[in-house]
Structures are given as C-alpha cells and as structure tokens.
C-alpha cells in the first residue's frame, strides 16, 4: 500500500523546499449517513466527558461519593466500584494495553475509524467547525470573507467566533479538573474564586490547548503531531476497510455532459465528474481520489458528499465508499467481492483483549483487603542486649484498604522463643501484639524481635503474619533475623 501526501505536489521533486506553509482548509458542510453518525457520536462522547464527574457512587461514610475521581492529595483513584491505591497503578498498564488493542482491532476492521469518529482531536475540531459554520457561514462565504481586507463586519464575525471557541475551550478545561476533586464542591469553589491555584492553572492550560488544537491547528495535529497515522500505515493490511475512491468506476473522469455523450457512443466514461465536492468537505483537505492518504482520517464525509452528487446525476452511489484493497483488485479481475473480518490479526487482538480483561478482573476480584510490607533496619543490623540476646528491628507498614477501622495482630514465624514487640502498639490479643489501622489508611510501626544468639551462619527466615482478628484473613511479608554471625 502506497502512502502519498496531497498537500504539496512539489514534495517529490528534487528541488522542492523542505518547508511548505499551511494552506488553510475551509471544510464545507455536508449531510448524509456518516455526517449523522459523527454528530451522534459527538453528542455521546462530549456528554460523557462533560457529565461524568457529576455521577455519584455511594462508598460509605469514609470515602468520596464521586463515581470517577482521581484524588491526588490522598493518593487514591476511584472508578465506580473500583478503588486503586498508588502501588496498584499496574491496573493502568492493563487499561493501556486494552486501549492499544482496541485501537489495533479498529484498525484491522476499518482503518482509522478511531481518528474519524472518536478521537478527542476530531470531536472537538468538529464542534469548533460547527461553531465556525454557524457564525461565519459555509465554505464559500468563509473563503470570500477571508479574502476581504479587515472591516468591522469581518472583525465582528471573527470576534464572535473566537469568543465562542474560547468559551467552549474554557468549559472543556473546567470540566477536566472536576475529575480530580469533588465536582459539586469544586464548581462552587471555582465560582467564588476559592479553589486552589492548581485548578485555575489547569483550566487555563487546557483552555489554551483546546483553543489552539481544535480552533487553530486542527488537521495539523493529525498530520504533524500525532504518531498514530504513521504506526497505522505500517500496521494496516489489504483486508481493512478504508475510505476508498473506486478508481475502477470513476475513471476516466470527465464532465457530466461529456460522459453522457461518451456513453451514447459506447466510449469508456467514469462516474467521477470532477466536481471537487469530496475535497471541499474534507476536514483535512485530502483529495481521496489520489488513493490512500496519510491525511485521511476515515471520517466518510466525502462519501456523503459524493453520494449526494451521484444521486443528482442519476449514477449509482458509493463511488467513494468504505472498501478494501483486496476488493478493488478483485473487481478489476472480475471476481466476487469478499469481506474477511476474521483474520489472524483480529483473532489475536481479540484474544489479547480477553486475556488482559480476565487477568484484570481476577486481580480486582481477589484484591487483598490489606497488605503488609517489612523493612529491616539497615543500621544497626542487630543489637546485642545486656543478657546476650540479639534484637533486630523492623519497620512494618500495614495498608488497610477497607473503609472501616480494623484491628490486626502480628505473629512472627521462623525463630525459637522469639519475643515480638510493636512499639506504640495496643494490648496483646491471644499473646500476640496488636495494632489498629484506621479506615482506608496505612500505618507504619516499629517492630522489634528478640531471640537467643544461635551462632547460626545463615540468617533466620522470618514470616511476619498480620491477621485481621475479626474475619481471620492474613497477609504475610518475609524478612530475615540477623546475628553477629549471619551478617552478610
């Protein structure tokens, strides 16, 4: 599959400059099935983004009740019934793998369908274009106005457009910060200028990036900043659906009048009448008739535009359509079209998605309600006591991941007659030192273990067994007991 760019026809020439200035694109409004699909998806995705932080989820008295919350000061992330601690950030790895595989699967099925319909850059650019069209009118009006010298009317149109863009951009940034704090409280704080500087800085940053990316840079983000087109071009195959100009049907292109005459005398005439509608509606300025293109985001708006023209001139629709390389070739050879969604790569992607989902689900369902970690004192490694016993000291940290305060006991296994003490601990329970840990908290404590100096050359292996005395669940951490003879 060859990838060419239609942006600068001189690129292939040896003397061409390395720099090409952007040619401003004025996408024209269009209607049709793909435009409607894009609009519906735009409403759905933006609604999710704008309203998700306001959804509540009851987690009991000691936890926030926001369904999706990334609580950075308290080092917690909440996603409906899932609560993640910082040390469990590997779930994020799983999510990223799932996202990548879903993207690859979409690519194997229908090319850059993500780029065309779901990518935030596309969605916000689409929204900004809709505003532009609403204020400034459609393609032709905009081109003409831009050619005029600056006057009051032109200035007012531009001012209004940019003001609306900034408003949307500001709203976008404003919602972003709601994912990081209790949304209703933060909204109130923001209104009364009582929120922290981080909130305002984040909002300003995102306002700026949204305005610049969706309003000013648009297709340049896809062309020059995004790595996915390059990766996608390397990953796609001849069975993936791509927005394709059916060159076998369209060529030789000529005006409608000439084509009608040619057909009358039995000469070959393509369906393409070179009306340029497909180029006019393209949000990235691509001429799809040049073949697969790095700039094409597979949004299908050119299909809508072409279908409209084909209907007008009474030719069959879908001169431009979602089609595969294989079928273009097969039609040329007079063979039946085939569609193969089940291929080794799609099976592999789905298998990976299922495997990662199962692993993540298993990890979530069997998530420990508390964890323990132990660090041996580094200095001194052991202490000799006045009666000749040896004492080792440890820092033990218990993380209570449940929303209730719990009482734990500590037992140390692996030494004869070991005397275990928690410094600052609570009274003994069943002969074992105990300590309580608050709801959804960690507690660090100093633990000493005293035993007879056994003259062993190898350090004793210890198991620190932490037991919830109410439900009997345990967590274990391992470390060593070292003596003057076993300090290696």
């Amino acid at each position: 599959m060859s990838v060419t760019s239609s942006f600068d026809p001189h690129l292939d020439e040896p003397e061409a400059p390395l720099y090409a200035a952007r040619k401003k694109i004025y996408p024209q409004g269009v209607s049709g099935i793909f435009r409607r699909t894009k609009t519906v998806l735009l409403i759905i995705t933006l609604s999710i983004y704008y309203f998700l932080p306001f959804i509540r989820w009851d987690r009991g008295p000691n936890a926030p009740n926001q369904a999706i919350l990334i609580d950075i000061p308290h080092r917690r992330a909440y996603f409906f019934f899932i609560e993640i601690w910082p040390q469990e950030v590997y779930y994020l790895t799983g999510l990223l793998i799932l996202a990548a595989m879903a993207l690859f699967l979409m690519n194997a099925m229908a090319g850059r369908v993500w780029c065309g319909y779901l990518c935030p850059q596309t969605v916000w650019t689409d929204l900004f274009l809709a505003v532009e069209r609403l204020i400034e009118g459609d393609r032709r009006t905009r081109i003409n106005r831009d050619a005029e010298p600056m006057n009051i009317e032109k200035f007012s149109y531009k001012l209004l457009k940019h003001a609306l863009w900034l408003l949307i951009a500001w709203w976008t940034g404003g919602v972003w910060v709601l994912y990081f704090a209790d949304a209703p409280t933060l909204v109130r704080d923001l209104i009364w200028f009582e929120a922290g500087p981080v909130a305002y800085i984040s909002i300003m940053t995102l306002t700026f990036t949204t305005y610049v990316f969706a309003g000013l840079m648009r297709e340049q983000v896809c062309l020059y900043m995004c790595p996915w087109p390059r990766i996608q071009a390397a990953m796609t195959d001849e069975y993936a659906l791509n927005v394709t100009y059916r060159v076998d049907r369209g060529e030789p292109r000529m005006s409608f009048k000439k084509a009608t005459q040619a057909r009358l005398v039995g000469e070959p005439a393509g369906d393409c009448i070179d009306c340029q509608q497909c180029v006019a509606v393209c949000p990235t300025g691509v001429d799809i008739r040049h073949g697969a293109d790095l700039g094409c985001i597979q949004c299908g708006l050119c299909i809508d535009a072409c279908d409209e023209v084909m209907e007008k001139i009474g030719r069959p629709t879908r001169l431009i359509a979602y089609d595969t390389e294989v079928n273009i070739k097969r039609r040329k050879d007079g063979l039946q079209e085939i569609f193969r969604p089940i291929r080794p790569r799609t099976v592999l992607y789905i298998a990976i998605i299922i495997a990662v989902s199962v692993v993540m689900l298993y990890a979530l369902l069997t998530r420990a309600p508390f964890t323990v970690s132990v660090i041996h004192d580094r200095n001194p490694i052991f202490v000799k006591l006045s009666d000749g016993h040896i004492r080792n000291a440890y820092t033990v940290r218990i993380a209570n991941m449940l929303p209730t305060e719990r009482l734990f006991t500590l037992e140390v296994d692996g030494l004869h007659d070991a005397h275990v003490e928690i410094i600052g601990g609570e009274p003994l329970i069943k002969g074992r030192p105990s300590i309580s840990v608050g709801p959804d908290q960690t507690r660090e404590m100093r633990v000493t273990v005293r035993a007879i100096d056994e003259d062993e050359d190898e350090p004793a292996h210890l198991e620190f067994i932490i037991r919830d005395e109410v439900d009997g669940t345990t967590a274990v951490a391992r470390d060593y007991f070292r003596t003057p003879h076993s300090v290696h």
Partner: protein, 293 residues
C-alpha cells in the same frame, strides 16, 4: 512564505555566501530559522529583565538590589518560618503532652519519631552514629543497657542537661578516678582487677590470673560505684560490668586502659541549643529505638 529564499534557484544566488573561500569551498550564508532567532531574542529580553528584577551586578562595596530586594537568605528564613507554621499545631500538642502521652498516642508518636529522627541525624549522629548504634566510648542507644537510665524521663533529663557538661549546673556528673595514672593502684593490681571484672560476666581469664587480689581491689575501689557484683548504679552513671554490653570493649587490655585513665564521656546540654518540643521528640525517638524502659 514569500520572504523565504526560493531554493529552486542557485542557493549561492538566493542566500549569498559569507565570502569565505577555502580551497574553492564556500560557505552559504543561510539565515537562521526564525523560531530559533525569536527564541534567542526572547532569552536576551529575559536576561535583561532578570538583571532589573533580581540582584545582579556586583558594585565596589555592595551590589544592585533588584526591584523587590529579593535575597536567597531571606527566602530561606521565609521557608523555615513557613515550615514552623505548618508544624505549629503538632508542635503545640507535643509541647503540651507529657512524654508518656506522646508515646501512647499514635498521631503524636509518629510525629515525634519523625521530628526526633531528623533532629538526631543533625545533632546526635556525629557521636552516636546514624543508626544510634554507638562507637567505642559512645553508647549504643538501641540496646537495653543504660548508663543514666532508660526511662522516658531519664533520657529526657540527660538530653536537657547533658553529661559532665560544666555549663549546665544540673548536668549529670560523676568521675572515675585515674587509678593508674594517678598511682592509686599498682600495675599488678590493675591487671588482677581487670581479670576479675571479666569473670563478672563469665568471660574467660588466663590461668595465672590473681582473682583473689582482683576481688579485693574491686571491693575496696570499684564496688562503691559499680556495685558489689558489678551491677552498676545509674544514679552515678556507673556502667554495669556483669552484662554482655561493653562501652569500650571486653578485652582485658581495654579494661586496664579504662582503669588506668578513668574519666568518662561527655554530652552537651541540649536545652541550650534545641527547643523544648524538639528535645521531647528526641527523647521519644531514642526511647522507641527499642531499648526504652
């Protein structure tokens, strides 16, 4: 880009050369990229602004003070004040609570241990070691052997007033005579009593050791402070001699050296240097190292 050179032309004509010529090799006078140039100008502006806003230029006896009179020293003072304010509520609680209450309350305990550890690293570790493990002549604070007492209050008093620290009239004081240097004991008596001291903690001695003489010397000269059986007396800071922990070491020659020279270690009175909450935190920290009584 209309003001860009048209590179379809001969580049030498388009941008010209620097005029340098090395054996027929010329250098194109290609203009700098504009983004680079603007960044460069911006850094110059930035530097000029920096000169005006911040102290910059050294003068004969002074320097330019900048627009706001900012100094890094002032900044440090502000940062420290900020930290003091931040810790204010907890510091007040530590100040108000008794040592025993601090050790019993998890919130106060973890704060005191953190503050104590920081203060220990700065003030105490040069002598007692980073892990309070001690060195020869400087006690290990992790073990259960205490010269002047290992209760919270005893540790606190030691920290406040120091040991043999003349500038503090309440300092802990006692002095072991230099039995050898001052000629109180004869060399053979020192040797004998050193052997006897080793037997107190069941350490082996040489066959020809005169333990009878050693015991006699011990009873007459040492027992008053170190106790009849070498059990030590904390009131006078006399170490236990019948346990496994040795301040200077259990070897006979080391014991003889201590008997010969006498004396004792010194520790500053920290109330002259540290504020009361810090000393309290230090006492709790040392107590919770494991040896507190």
């Amino acid at each position: 880009m209309t003001n860009r050179p048209d590179t379809n032309l001969d580049p030498r004509k388009a941008v010209g050369t620097t005029g340098h010529d090395w054996d027929g090799i010329e250098e194109l006078n290609t203009p700098l990229p504009r983004w680079w140039l603007w960044t460069f100008y911006a850094t110059i502006l930035w530097a000029l602004a920096y000169w005006v806003v911040y102290p910059a230029i050294p003068l004969a006896t002074s320097f330019t003070k900048g627009m706001f009179g900012w100094t890094s020293r002032e900044q440090v003072v502000q940062d420290l004040d900020g930290l003091k304010t931040l810790r204010g509520p907890m510091t007040a609680k530590i100040e108000a609570a008794s040592l025993q209450d601090i050790a019993k309350t998890p919130e106060l305990l973890s704060f005191a241990r953190a503050q104590g550890a920081a203060a220990f690293a700065v003030n105490c570790s040069p002598c007692h070691g980073a892990g309070a493990q001690g060195f020869k002549g400087y006690p290990n604070l992790n073990d259960d052997d205490w010269l002047w007492g290992g209760s919270l209050d005893a540790i606190h008093t030691t920290l406040q007033h120091g040991i043999r620290w003349d500038a503090d009239k309440d300092t802990r004081a006692s002095m072991m005579p230099a039995f050898g240097r001052d000629g109180i004991l004869k060399p053979n008596e020192i040797s004998a009593v050193a052997d006897y001291v080793r037997t107190l903690s069941a350490l082996p001695v040489e066959k020809d050791a005169d333990l009878k003489l050693g015991q006699k010397v011990f009873t007459e000269n040492c027992a008053a402070c170190h106790g009849e059986k070498g059990e030590g007396i904390q009131d006078v800071g006399a170490p236990k001699l019948n346990d496994k922990v040795w301040l200077y070491g259990p070897e006979k020659v080391t014991i003889m050296e201590r008997i010969t020279l006498g004396g004792g270690g010194q520790m500053p009175a920290w109330s002259q240097r540290l504020d009361s909450p810090t000393i309290k935190s230090l006492a709790v920290y040392v107590h919770t190292l494991g040896g507190g009584q």
